[in-house]
Symmetry: C2
């Protein structure tokens, strides 16, 4: 039975209990949210040594790191190193987006090495097996790939089942068209074969496989906007409404489901986008990519999208897919993976603080107490990236490193030191 099926009959599973404990939530609340489909625990029993992680608004906001070889670049070894970096900097989930050769072998190794749930986009392997030729794809091959990946232990899969034929002309009106790799491949196939989206048409067969292995569906947003000019348009929301239908079908069948979201969205439209998904997709956990809030900062898209991701986490998203500084420019390096993860831990945490998630700001308070007391070790302990913070501090003059100020203001102008003197003066007057 899947976690959802168990929840529906009122059983609190070990996975739910573990998640409840980690999140300091009552197991009964976790059960209720799981049963309602507002929370998921992507957790394929065949993924050995994987820890269950909860996604939903009752939990803290989670982050995902995309990894995997592109056809032009990278090796298994490099991707495993990036996996280590992602784990070190706090990735709660990883996706293996490898395309090209040895997709299945690489994924197997990634699964072995990953203690966090791992996701895939099965159409990537499918089209890779056909050496990139989309027209040659048929549904039975796609189903085979989904089944093999499920058996191998993949915890969640992005399936672009909501992009329908009638949406394609809407997307072609855009500046950027379709920027989802999976979405564009599905659209090309539909036009080549003059048929409807095969995942949509065969959704029951897909669910048969997923329910057997308790693979969580991540409904892909094939029509996510690829630039500000395309944001919040008809194509995007028409697809989103189909994703809502598919959410219902998944829940009825006992398959856990989350919904993927944009993309490139101006800052002022993020709240509306989060609310629209909650409404059209019946509160299914929202898994967003960014969003990027301006198109003009390639090289800094981790930062640009952390702005959007903070707003997304504040207003409705539960899982944030990182964007790295390499976005729009190339495959991320290890350093890019680090920068992406840290930026997204910041966004997830700032969002949790902003939405008043219980206990979220405790660590901020601890940091501030350490700052007030010039307890540098404690400050680094509270820091999201202690090594970087400490290294930066060490750049100052050596004399400043033993105690009660830093080189930013210097001893005489340090406001925290002055505050201490003010307190002494006030105490004297009393």
């Amino acid at each position: 039975m899947t976690q959802l099926q168990e929840a529906k009959v009122g059983v609190i599973t070990d996975a739910m209990r573990t998640v409840a404990e980690r999140e300091k939530a009552p197991p009964e609340t976790v059960l209720a949210e799981m049963a309602a489909g507002r929370a998921v625990i992507p957790f394929n029993p065949s993924h050995k040594n994987c820890r269950p992680v909860g996604v939903g608004r009752i939990f803290s906001t989670k982050i995902n790191a995309n990894l995997g070889c592109s056809k032009d670049r990278s090796s298994l070894q490099e991707e495993l190193s990036k996996l280590d970096v992602a784990l070190k900097y706090g990735a709660d989930f990883v996706m293996d987006l490898t395309v090209g050769k040895d997709v299945s072998f690489i994924r197997g190794e990634m699964l072995k090495h990953s203690p966090v749930p791992l996701g895939t986009v099965p159409i990537y392997e499918t089209v890779s097996r056909l050496e990139g030729s989309v027209p040659k794809m048929d549904m039975s091959l796609l189903l085979d790939v989904i089944e093999e990946q499920a058996e191998q232990g993949v915890d969640f899969m992005t399936l672009h089942a909501g992009l329908l034929r009638r949406h394609i002309p809407l997307a072609m009106k855009r500046v950027m068209g379709i920027v989802s790799r999976g979405g564009s491949l599905m659209a090309e196939w539909m036009l080549e074969h003059d048929k409807e989206n095969p995942l949509y048409e065969n959704w029951d067969k897909v669910l048969d496989i997923l329910v057997k292995h308790d693979v969580t569906v991540s409904l892909g947003d094939g029509l996510r906007p690829g630039c500000l000019a395309d944001a919040s348009d008809e194509a995007q929301f028409e697809e989103l409404s189909v994703l809502g239908e598919l959410v219902k079908a998944c829940r009825e069948r006992g398959v856990q489901v989350m919904v993927e979201g944009p993309g490139h969205i101006p800052f002022n439209e993020i709240k509306m986008n989060m609310e629209k998904e909650q409404e059209l997709c019946f509160g299914a956990p929202f898994y967003v990519l960014g969003p990027v809030v301006t198109d003009i900062a390639p090289g800094y898209d981790h930062l640009v999208s952390a702005i959007g991701a903070t707003a997304a986490a504040t207003y409705g998203a539960s899982l944030l897919c990182y964007v790295t500084p390499a976005e729009h420019l190339g495959l991320p390096t290890e350093e890019d993976v680090k920068q992406g993860c840290v930026a997204y831990k910041i966004a997830a945490h700032a969002g949790d603080v902003a939405r008043g998630f219980p206990g979220a700001a405790d660590i901020d308070l601890k940091m501030s107490e350490a700052r007030k007391n010039f307890d540098w070790d404690k400050q680094f302990e509270c820091a999201l990236d202690p090594e970087t913070a400490k290294a930066r501090w060490m750049k100052g003059e050596p004399e400043s490193h033993d105690e009660d100020h830093c080189t930013m203001c210097g001893k005489e102008f340090c406001a925290v030191r002055t505050t201490k003197r003010i307190k002494e003066l006030l105490a004297k007057k009393d």
Copy 2:
């Protein structure tokens, strides 16, 4: 006559005209906003070769870079190099926050080298002259320093005139107390001498000097919160309400005025903070530092605060003071200055797009068109930091650099390429 005095009598000055042209705003609108005090042009006639820059909601959002030697560190040469970096990466304003020796000489050189308006915090020089001893300060010295700086050509000055004696106990209830250097020095002085804030008490004398040189006042928020736990508290808003009084006094005297703001503020409280300032300070341009939206990411505070700055620019701020990765850890290096400036150009621009500032999104559209067309040169042209974007792109395999994809997805999986094929398929069907 100051720009404000001219505006009040209906004169469109050369500075207003230049600003209007650059901002593509009708000169009459600039005049009206200046007269109402909702816009300022910090522009001291003694600052030779300085270009006028407008601050206010009718203009695009501006950024400021803080520079200057701390007592423990840095030299004039280093600070001039940082000034070059700040200008290269788009700083619209700079502040020289030098403390210690040779403050006046360093500032003179900075003024000579800066084609953008330059600001200071006069109490830094005052206390530096007394070798850090706040108790020795008297008002005549502070007035002398303000006058000398005004004569030298300083375009705007931060004066902590709104932090009153009765506010100090409120601030001492906080976790972090007073984190503004100037604010904490003023508070210490008040307690040592058992007197009210001398700037507040002598505000007319201060305005006499400023009006003569058309120096713009930047009303310092001595009680800005220094951690999330202290945000939006009584101390902060009591001071803000005094700043509102001072805004009125400035405007009556014909002195241009803007108001400084926080600081550390949770993401969800930023909108309220922006609106409160507009209300309590009668629409005076709001000049904010960040805000930082979580305390726990030292080493990344440029990113953390760019999140807050985007929200601030969206909801009411007109000028964003950058925060660098060195914040809370040490004096910024050249690289920190660069990172701070780029992060804040992103925030200012994303905010302008979000508030629907006319024409703001044009460059995003241009970038997106270039992306669609694989016009890499045009993409770099549209990029906020062309060099970094290009260098990152060049890391990919050489074969990918002449044309129609990048190493992120590779040729076969590039969605933009697939979109092209989809368009061809659709055209065939028509």
